[in-house]
Symmetry: C2
Subunit: 212 residues, 2 copies
């Protein structure tokens, strides 16, 4: 059983029986939506293009999603799930010191952008920029996601204090919020310049300024 | 003579004679474009809506602009001009120490966002986020604007070193780039949260980390 099928089987547990091909189509639609929205934003993500890219039959979109808003909310959920796993992989890597775990996140996120020639940014950042066109439900969800990432990062920084890597006089919640504000800015800039330099220069100065 | 008329008269000097109402209409179109694009982004800025908001007659758009791309490039020019004046006002204020000049910019930019209930962001940040939908000419122009702002900021930080406010061991170019990467992230977040907190918390940590 492939990873994908395994995941789908797990997802299905305890739910009403669904045709596995159905679940797979939903997943393909979500993936296509993430690809388009991380590149061009949510407003520019048309249902027709999502269906074409997912090679899904016309009309099936509304079988899985109430409307585009519902699709958008589910895109954020899927992105949050994917991202939380990446953060866990980095922040719970006991082979690394806590500060190096945060650096490992920077490297992983950079590799993710490089893979798509810096054309795709962060879904949360993209949607944040388009917030004037989005609903309050989306706004609240996006703020919640950012706060979750900040909380995990603050935990990593607190561990860095425990291990003597970061001065205990620092406020880890403030530093975590500062990291995410800056990181989203760096991702935006990397997309603009189509290169890693903004990610590198943000990370270099951030870690330098935090040195004990 | 009002400020506005004065400006228009000065602009007209040395140029072929134009009907002053013509120049005024162009200015109104640019203003309307800036209002919509800083709020909802450039892709969502429709020519029809620009004309309506500017109360300009239909069809006159193409009298002033070759196409929407040309309009977009001129929006960046206008925003850059407006922003350069604000930066000059802050960075050349001899009544303040250099670090306080940078803080004065933060306050001025924050006041600018507050005035519109944090619904309008930075044009350059917005367009940067939409870059996948924009031309290479726009990309280059936007990168140039960011580099100009960074250069001015590096100058201010170098002055802070001369005055003993900032350690000479710091690299002012790196710190200026870091400031702008983070600031654009903070503006994005302030738009998402509809409040000043992200601007404040970014500035607080930035200035704290730079303390000698």
């Amino acid at each position: 059983m492939g990873d994908e099928e395994q995941k789908l089987t797990e997802r299905g547990r305890g739910r009403p029986k669904t045709d596995p091909r159905d679940a797979e189509t939903r997943l393909r639609l979500i993936r296509a939506g993430l690809e388009i929205a991380t590149e061009r934003g949510y407003v520019a993500t048309g249902v027709g293009e999502v269906l074409r890219r997912a090679a899904a039959p016309k009309g099936c979109f509304y079988h899985y999603f109430k409307d585009k808003e519902d699709f958008g909310l589910q895109l954020i959920d899927a992105y949050e799930e994917f991202f939380a796993k990446m953060l866990d992989r980095c922040f719970e890597n006991r082979a690394l010191s806590p500060m190096n775990r945060l650096k490992a996140f920077v490297d992983a996120a950079k590799a993710g952008m490089e893979k798509h020639q810096f054309r795709r940014g962060c879904l949360v950042g993209n949607l944040g920029q388009e917030i004037a066109s989005l609903s309050d439900a989306m706004r609240e969800k996006l703020i919640g996601v950012m706060e979750d990432w900040q909380g995990r990062t603050a935990g990593c920084l607190a561990l860095a204090q425990d291990m003597g890597e970061l001065s205990v006089s620092r406020n880890v919640d403030e530093l975590a919020a500062f990291f995410w504000i800056g990181w989203e800015g760096a991702v935006l800039r990397a997309k603009l310049e189509l290169r890693a330099d903004p990610l590198d220069s943000f990370a270099k100065v951030y870690f330098h300024l935090l040195k004990k």
